[in-house]
């Protein structure tokens, strides 16, 4: 399964400070660590960055790709910053991934055309101005709307990664199954099946620290069983990565060898 490494996020103090000071080292350190542990993409979340979004994004993309040969997942709602990131992105190891469009009209209209213009792949959240739909089928309706916009913008179906959105089990236990079901229904929306992604750590938000690990990686197993294509997660979490690799082996997506966990 594809892993998008989530550690470079403006929410983390270390990252926020490094960005403000334009200090590349902490970002590069985090990028390298995640890449070595098997991240296929490095997520770069700069937040709203209202003041200097484009310059920040341009700088951050370049310093990260200086040290890892991987494509980036560009995480911002700021359109100008997104454009700057797409322009600065080095495509030789893969195309950039826009994080994200959604079923909200403005966000969809801002982000989807960029995927077409810059030949990028794009994550699309199946929520609308009304929030996250309760049922998996309702998320499919939002997805269908997103897919129609994609066709208008010349974005192929294979370039869209649908995200059903994960609600935390301590508060919304009754909604967790719907996200799992949504993955299966999303795949059926097209042939070949639509790609999917989730921000996995959301499932354990609000749970005590000692429970986060077991909740997250068990939820991962259920999602992967329904065919989850990728996850935004922390590849430094060894138990999480071991679980992911083991599911891949059990579902015949990865060839078994006695040392499979070391790969």
């Amino acid at each position: 399964m594809i892993i998008i490494g989530e550690r470079i996020s403006v929410i983390a103090r270390k990252v926020r400070e490094a960005m403000a000071a334009r200090d590349p080292k902490p970002l590069q350190e985090l990028a390298r660590q995640q890449f070595e542990k098997g991240a296929n993409y490095i997520d770069l979340s700069i937040g709203p960055a209202e003041d200097d979004g484009p310059q920040l994004m341009d700088w951050a993309v370049k310093v990260i790709q200086e040290v890892v040969s991987a494509p980036l997942c560009l995480d911002t709602t700021n359109k100008a910053a997104m454009i700057a990131g797409l322009k600065a992105h080095n495509n030789q190891w893969g195309r950039p991934l826009i994080n994200s469009a959604s079923g909200e009209e403005e966000r969809l209209n801002n982000m989807m055309p960029l995927a077409g213009e810059y030949n990028a792949e794009i994550i699309a959240l199946t929520l609308t101005e009304k929030g996250i739909p309760a049922l998996a089928e309702e998320r499919c309706e939002v997805a269908a709307n997103i897919m129609a916009k994609a066709m208008e913008c010349g974005v192929p179906m294979e370039d869209i990664w649908l995200d059903p959105l994960i609600l935390p089990v301590p508060f919304q236990q009754d909604k967790c199954k719907e996200s799992i079901r949504a993955i299966r229904l999303f795949r059926e929306l097209n042939d070949p099946p639509m790609k999917t992604t989730v921000g996995l750590s959301n499932i354990a938000n609000g749970a005590p620290k000692e429970l986060k690990g077991i909740i997250t990686r068990t939820f991962l197993v259920l999602l992967m069983y329904e065919g989850l294509y990728s996850a935004i997660a922390d590849p430094n979490d060894k138990e999480f990565m071991d679980t992911m690799k083991t599911v891949d082996v059990l579902m015949e997506k990865r060839l078994y060898a006695h040392s499979y966990l070391e790969m």
Partner: protein, 313 residues
């Protein structure tokens, strides 16, 4: 209902591997799809055939193939030159079968002499193969690797029981390495992992899934190879993306079909053509499963196979 070409897309690609130098260099691999589907993938390099020679005269080879080399096969250097100059071999594969304890039990030093002679005799790349005896090969291949330093040969074969010594020698002397496992896709992956963990560059590994002759288990090799390519190209498993080698001479030419005279089995037809077609069809099967490098014996079979390759790419 209009027809739309059902194209598959592949996440992975086979490593490209070059050995030899100058205009004699040979490159294999590099394809990014299942064999010969150029409508959905690119095939930068065609499969290549290496001609086999041995360090001792092939008295155990059936007549059909032995007699081709009568006159040169008592001298490995002459034999190598004959393959390069008269038969147009792109690669010469020297099998040190004489070092096997059940054969002449030649020493590592004997092997070194032969290797040195052969390397001086030809300009084309040379493959150095042990006799297949686990313990002896470790000694022999280490010595051979040292003797061939600077020549960037293909050294083989490293197996689960003896890979450590051979890998170390390959690293020290900058050779490419053949890793062989016994018809098992998972063991093949594991061996590549172990070799890579020793510090050997995985892009210099060639996988030998263990060949079988037509009628003697060929379908096992065929399916193991198809599964290896699925892992490499569809699952993008970096441990399975090595080029594939099929060493078919020994298995083909010890079959009854390659040696029994027509008088003994009239329903099997003429012996001469039979041996050649047995090697040719075995090779064709391996090529269809993704083989990048073949080691063969009979020049007519090689010629036939090269014609086939020309029609496939």
């Amino acid at each position: 209902m209009p027809f739309v070409i059902p194209k598959d897309s592949y996440a992975g690609k086979i490593n490209s591997l070059t050995f030899g130098s100058g205009d004699k260099a040979v490159t294999i691999g590099g394809e990014n799809g299942l064999p010969f589907l150029s409508f959905e993938s690119s095939i930068p390099n065609r499969p290549v055939v290496a001609l086999e020679i041995q360090d001792v005269a092939p008295s155990d080879w059936p007549d059909t193939v032995r007699k081709v080399y009568d006159g040169v096969s008592s001298s490995p250097a002459q034999w190598a030159k004959f393959c390069q100059d008269s038969l147009g071999a792109k690669i010469v594969a020297l099998r040190l079968v004489g070092t096997h304890p059940d054969r002449d039990d030649r020493s590592a030093d004997d092997a070194v002499k032969t290797v040195t002679e052969v390397l001086s005799a030809v300009d084309v790349p040379v493959m150095i193969l042990g006799s297949g005896h686990i313990e002896k090969d470790a000694q022999v291949l280490k010595a051979a690797a040292d003797a061939a330093k600077g020549k960037e040969c293909i050294l083989g074969k490293a197996q689960e029981e003896n890979y450590r010594t051979i890998v170390t020698a390959a690293i020290a002397n900058n050779h490419k390495l053949i890793a062989m496992s016994q018809l098992d896709v998972n063991l093949a992956k594991q061996l590549n992992i172990l070799i890579t963990q020793m510090g050997f560059n995985r892009e210099n590994i060639i996988m030998d899934p263990m060949s079988s002759a037509l009628g003697y288990g060929i379908e096992y090799t065929y399916s193991v190879m198809e599964r290896i390519r699925q892992a490499a190209l569809v699952q993008n498993d970096p441990m399975m993306q090595t080029p594939l080698l099929c060493d078919i001479g020994p298995n083909v030419w010890k079959t009854k079909e390659s040696a029994a005279p027509e008088s003994e089995l009239p329903e099997w037809g003429s012996l001469e053509e039979r041996g050649i077609v047995w090697e040719s069809v075995t090779a064709a099967t391996m090529i269809m499963a993704g083989c990048n490098l073949l080691v063969m014996r009979h020049p007519k079979a090689v010629e036939t196979v090269n014609r086939l390759i020309g029609e496939l790419v």
